[in-house]
Structure formats: structure tokens, C-alpha cells
Symmetry: C2
């Protein structure tokens, strides 16, 4: 008890392929300070840890030192909660198995918990965000890929190996003609409903249709989901249809996800949620149309209320309170 009072902070680390963002966070979810280092500048993980500790020092000094920090939580691609390792992350400079938690514990002298980005986002939502007080919900991150963090009975589902919660790789088209996915298979949800999936849909629709569209003035290979959003804001019919198509696929998939843990809510996070109602309305419609009758009208379909740039750090930090 005394220890808890003595240690009012946690560190959250959002480890991305390009940058690593550290935040010192209090129990209310206020980020007292942020520190950024380049992830890819350190091909040796030991150097990365050393650079992290050095970069954190001024921030630590300002809160009275590491003695006031309870733990560090890390959200990293392919971060494994059980082992504390980062395992074969395609987007990071370090190959194979990286003993991430162990190295940070040695360097900082405090406990370290690791998980992947989507699970960290779910932790953040449960600790500081719209899922506060919820015991059963599903977090869906809509970025370059589609990630998920599943919460059952108040706890993240890590599964037998620490790699549960990969709903972006649930196959929604089993015909064999689904879109090719980075995972080597076809028809995964993320090939349709990620930001890149939206751009892919845009290219397909523009190629297959003859209607006029603001998107036709762009180089098809360079269209982004943000371009589609901007066109939708101007009432562009094809752009609106792209979000409708995407949202309906996502809502239909959520209706399937409900059969797993009958969640109180689905919380969406990431760039695509900036499209607001353009994507949320078709998600909600398709969910209600497609879910089992006993689930109808029960689940909330929400957008994360955490500030986008802070959410990943907050999510990672939430692991530190466990």
C-alpha cells in the first residue's frame, strides 16, 4: 500500500517502426512529459535501451527520479505479454526474438510489461477512455492494418501463446478470390477495412465505374483514405460509397465477433475513425442488421475518445498499473 502511494507514475512506451514515444503518466491519465527517440536508429537493441534510458533521464529527474515510477508498459508490434518478448516483428529493425521486458527491467530497475499496440489501445480505453468500467468489449484499431484487443471479464484476452486478438486477420471472404493480405492469405478483414484497404477500394471502384468523382483528379496509386474523406466531405458520391462499403463490411464482421464474447461495446480507433458518421453509420446499420437477434440493440459502437497522438502512450502506460 505504501509502495503505491510512493510511486505515483508509470511510463508508457509506444514503440513504432519509425519513432518511439515515451510518456510519464499519472493515475488520472495525464501525460506529464513526452520523450521521443528514433526506433530505427539503433539496430542493436541494447543500444536502443541505453538511448531510451538516457533520453528519459530529464523527464525522470523532473518527477523526482525513477523511485517515483511504478512500472513501464510497452506497446510494440508483436509484443508478447506472457514472455515480454517482441517476436519477429516485420516493422521493427530487430529480427527474431527480442527480450524487451527483460532488457528494460535491467536498465531501469522497475517492472516492465509488454503487449502489442492493439491490446495496449484496449488497456488505455479501459483505464482512461470510453471503456472505463466496461468488462467486455472489443477494441478495433483501423490504421495501416486492422488490429484488435479483446476484453473479457475485465481482462485482455492473450490466449495460449500471448497472440490472441487478431481479428484483422479473420477471413471475411472465403471464396479464394478475396484480396491478398500481407499475412500470405486471402480475404482478411484488414485488406478491406484498414486505411490501405479503403485506398484499395477507391482504386477498384474508380476503375470499375464510370461516374464522375473528385477522386479522379488524383493519381490512383497515391489515393489515401484521407483523400476519400475529403471528397466525402464535399458530397462526392463514390467517396461516400467507399465508406459505406467499408463500414458495412466492418459492421457485418462485428456481428460475427459478437458471437465470441457478446461485448458491451466495440471501440474503434485510428485514422479511419476521423471519417466519423461516414463510416460509423454503415458500421452501426450493418451490425444491427446482421447480428443474432439476441444481441440486437445491446452493443454500443463507439469511437475512442482518447487524443490520437496520446492514446498509444496512454495505452502502453496502462499496463504499468496492473
Amino acid at each position: 500500500m505504501e509502495t503505491e502511494i510512493e510511486k505515483p507514475y508509470v511510463i508508457g512506451l509506444d514503440m513504432g517502426g519509425t519513432n518511439s514515444v515515451f510518456g510519464i503518466v499519472d493515475q488520472r491519465g495525464t501525460i506529464k512529459s513526452q520523450t521521443v527517440i528514433s526506433t530505427r536508429a539503433y539496430p542493436d537493441f541494447d543500444d536502443y535501451v541505453k538511448a531510451s534510458v538516457e533520453a528519459l533521464q530529464p523527464a525522470l529527474d523532473s518527477i523526482g527520479g525513477i523511485e517515483n515510477v511504478r512500472a513501464i508498459g510497452i506497446g510494440a508490434p508483436n509484443g508478447n505479454y506472457y514472455t515480454g518478448n517482441i517476436e519477429n516483428a516485420a516493422n521493427l529493425v530487430w529480427r527474431g526474438i527480442v527480450p524487451c521486458a527483460q532488457k528494460f527491467e535491467e536498465a531501469l530497475g522497475i517492472p516492465c510489461r509488454v503487449t502489442n499496440d492493439a491490446n495496449a489501445a484496449a488497456m488505455g480505453e479501459m483505464t482512461y477512455g470510453v471503456a472505463r468500467g466496461m468488462k467486455n468489449f472489443i477494441m478495433i484499431t483501423l490504421g495501416t492494418g486492422v488490429g484488435s484487443g479483446i476484453v473479457c471479464d475485465g481482462k485482455i484476452v492473450y490466449g495460449s501463446d500471448g497472440f490472441a486478438g487478431e481479428l484483422g486477420h479473420l477471413v471475411i471472404d472465403h471464396s479464394g478470390n478475396g484480396r491478398s493480405c500481407g499475412c500470405g492469405r486471402k480475404g482478411c478483414l484488414e485488406t478491406y477495412t484498414s486505411a490501405t484497404g479503403v485506398a484499395r477500394t477507391a482504386r477498384e471502384m474508380l476503375a470499375n465505374r464510370s461516374e464522375d468523382s473528385l477522386l479522379r483528379s488524383l493519381d490512383p496509386e497515391k489515393i489515401t483514405s484521407f483523400d476519400v474523406f475529403q471528397a466525402a466531405e464535399k458530397g462526392d458520391k463514390i467517396a461516400l460509397e467507399i465508406f459505406n462499403f467499408t463500414g458495412r463490411l466492418l459492421g457485418t464482421a462485428c456481428a460475427d465477433f459478437a458471437t465470441f464474447n457478446s461485448p458491451e461495446a466495440f471501440v474503434f480507433f485510428g485514422g479511419l475513425t476521423k471519417a466519423g458518421d461516414y463510416i460509423m453509420n454503415p458500421i452501426r446499420e450493418a451490425y444491427e442488421e446482421n447480428c443474432l437477434s439476441m444481441y440486437k440493440g445491446k452493443a454500443k459502437l463507439l469511437i475512442s475518445a482518447l487524443n490520437g497522438s496520446e492514446a498509444a502512450v496512454l495505452g502502453a502506460s496502462a499496463l504499468g498499473w496492473e
Copy 2:
């Protein structure tokens, strides 16, 4: 502590549409005695509870009375663990919401826990069966319908409303042309991989193909999955193909289920598992072919080792030890 030693038994009740089977079970999973009453003979639930208590009396006397029973666990269609109610069960004589746990607690004076049949089966498998010691697995019951019980971190997933774990109603054909399901939607897994789904596949294949088959001597409307099994035993090509088709759909669905909780095992239970390798081989093949590469070679695909006629009672009884 003393109480626990004093009460070495639990009662398990497998409540079916036709019959209700009670078993008095010890901690090793030995059923000391079984008692059966008709479920549908009592249109009033109070009468049913009264008849249950009367029928149980001799068995209770033989173990020294209700004082030696810790609790009663009930596996019932649409049984809700949180409320203890049976809610709108289509196959039972009682309509609407039945306060099942409350009535049994009042009548017997011991705690009562209620859940649905598939969750009870998962409890039984975890307590006495092939899933002993497992913390993350998925139970799949292949009967008239397809049920599921999902275990994460050693606990059944009940979800926000007590109705989680309905994987039989995950839609595997979103084309709009999937098979009609009793739930009112189309393309649910259970329309293909239940015993009735197998019979449906048999009728379709016999109608669409010209090859000879032992199954052609049967009235198509009366073909059962057991007929298909018997034909497969004799090397009938169409019968083997029916199991192959069914097993592959199930294995592919399990590859999708793995994205939820990355289970250590899938445990199959129910009439269809009598087909043994005819169905298990295609399940295993399709699972390994279709799962995400990080799940490959990890999950065991097992048949329940509990005696079919006892499994439901054992499963229900397992709730009594909680």
C-alpha cells in the same frame, strides 16, 4: 474449509427438451447415481421443480441427504449464468424468462448455477475431460445445432449479457446465398456442420451429382448423419466427400476462431464426432492450411473423451464446484 470437506457431492442437471437427467457426482467425476424425469410433462415450472426434488430424494438419501451436496449445476438451453434464468428457450415447454436458479435454490436449499449446454460441456471437459489443466480452449458441440463454449484464462466467456459463445452462428457464407438458419439469418456455421447440416449436404450432393452411392437407396428426406457415417465405413465416395466438405468448413472456421483467443485446443463433442477420422482429418488439414502462420502447429484438435451419455450431466455438475 470445514464446509467443503463436509460436502463431497454436487448435482448436475442436463435439462433437455424431452428429458431431464440428474446426476450426483463426486470430485473425481464419478456419477454415483442418475435420475431421469420428463421435462415436457410439467408445463408449470414450479411443478417441474417439485417433481425434480421428489425424484432426487432416494438418490439424496443414499448419500446421506442434501447436507452432503455442495451445489447444483444446470445445463439448459438459453441458460444464463449471470441471472440464473432460462431465457426464451425455443425447445423447452416454458415460455419467456424462467427464474431457474432461484426456484431450485429455494426448493433444495443449496446454491444453484445455470448455463447453457455448450458452456456446461466446456466446464465438464475442463474439470474432468481432455481439457483438464488447459486455460484457453474452445469447445464445439456438433449436434442438431452447433454450440460452443469458450474458455479464456481458465474461465468460461459469458460476455456482457451471459450469452457469449455462439460460434455456431458465426456466418461463414456472407454472399446472401448461404443456407437458411433457424436463427432467421443465412450462412451460419451450424447450417453446414451440425448433424442436420450434414444431412442437408448429403441431399444436395446426391441431387447435384450423378455418381452412384449407397446413400441413393435411402429416402433423401430421411438421411441422417449416421447413415452417412455407415456409408463412409463401407468406402462410399460421396459419403466420404460429405465428411470432407463438412470437416473442411469446420477447420476453416476454427482457423478464424483462433484469431479470438489463440486456443491451446479445440474440443469437439457430439454425435458427429463418432465419424472419427472421416471428419477430424479434414478439420485438422483445413485448420493448418487456413490459420495465421503464427498459430500453425500449435492448437490440438481433439474429440471429447467423456462418455457421451454422461458428459452433459458431468458438465452441468462441474458448475457446482465453482
